[in-house]
């Protein structure tokens, strides 16, 4: 019997599929937040808004 004929195929694939979506979603969310925040800080730096420790 192939894996696809198994009566539990839908349960196994859906659980792995949902897991993949959630784990990948967490990674993408963390990366997207980092990009947007570094972009915001860069934008502020261009406007001359920097932390005291950054001022030269």
């Amino acid at each position: 019997m192939s894996m696809f004929d198994d009566k539990y195929f839908a349960y196994v694939t859906s659980s792995y599929g949902i897991t993949l979506l959630v784990l990948a979603g967490m990674v993408l969310w963390a990366r997207a937040q980092f990009k947007s925040r570094t972009a915001k800080l860069d934008e502020m730096e261009k406007l001359g808004i920097t932390r005291r420790s950054q001022k030269r």
Partner: protein
């Protein structure tokens, strides 16, 4: 002095990481290596999971165990990370403790959600139901509610310093639920099976199932560690942006900014 120590000037104490800039430098160096280890562990864990034989009772659904159980362990581990961070806030007042707690909450919530969903999908063919209000499932659902409550609390109080102490107290109160989850299967009659790995008399799982499970648990733990460092970095940057915006607004009020 090695290359890494010269870059980040590591001192042998947690205090060395109290400086967020030093912490960010450490994260920048560690992240690529952590990703390599995490991906390698996932490849090995998935290969072992799909090479494992079918269970004589559960058939192929036993493979759900390799993603369900690590999700549950990491969900509880994330909470224990938050408990130690809460102690860091209340006792040692470590500057990064609140950052660590706040950064762990959405990750813990996601792993708890995964534990509930994969458990439900596993339960349907094995128990004949998606859900029962037994002590293990209910206490684990309570963990998700605690995570969501904490996220809501942090969102409700905008000032990080003002939110830190109430959140830390909330975390410590919520910690009561962690042993309840662990021992619920011993204290009450539950549809959920008793512990089969962490037992006083050793695991009852056979090695062909135990090995994939342990490798996947390690992969999940490494993923949590990697994501936690990433979300801590994001939280530090969020606080920097907020602090700069407040400083700029104050200067504008005083007429110091043209």
């Amino acid at each position: 002095m090695s290359d890494i120590t010269s870059k980040i000037a590591v001192r042998p104490s947690l205090g060395a990481l109290a400086n967020p800039t030093r912490f960010l430098n450490l994260v920048r160096i560690l992240l690529p290596w952590l990703w390599v280890v995490t991906i390698a562990l996932f490849i090995a864990g998935l290969w072992l999971s799909f090479a494992a034989p079918e269970d004589y009772q559960q058939g192929r659904t036993v493979r759900i165990m390799f993603i369900h159980v690590p999700s549950v362990w990491v969900a509880m581990f994330a909470y224990m990370v938050m408990v130690s961070s809460a102690l860091g806030v209340l006792v040692w007042r470590h500057p990064l403790a609140d950052v660590a707690a706040r950064a762990a909450a959405p990750l813990g919530a996601a792993f708890t959600f995964l534990g509930l969903i994969t458990g439900s999908i596993w339960g349907k063919p094995m128990w004949g139901t998606w859900w029962v209000w037994d002590a293990r499932l209910t206490s684990f659902l309570v963990l998700l509610i605690i995570y969501l409550g904490l996220i809501a609390l942090w969102r409700a109080i905008e000032e990080p310093a003002a939110a830190a102490r109430p959140a830390a107290v909330f975390i410590l109160i919520g910690a009561i639920n962690v042993p309840i989850i662990k021992f619920s299967v011993d204290w009450w009659n539950t549809l959920h099976q008793p512990a089969s790995v962490f037992r006083a008399d050793g695991p009852t799982l056979s090695p062909e199932f135990l090995w994939p499970l342990m490798v996947m648990a390690l992969a999940y733990s490494m993923l949590f560690l990697t994501l936690h460092l990433m979300t801590m970095r994001n939280e530090i940057l969020r606080r920097r942006i907020r602090s700069l915006q407040i400083t700029t607004a104050r200067r504008a009020e005083r007429g110091q900014v043209e």
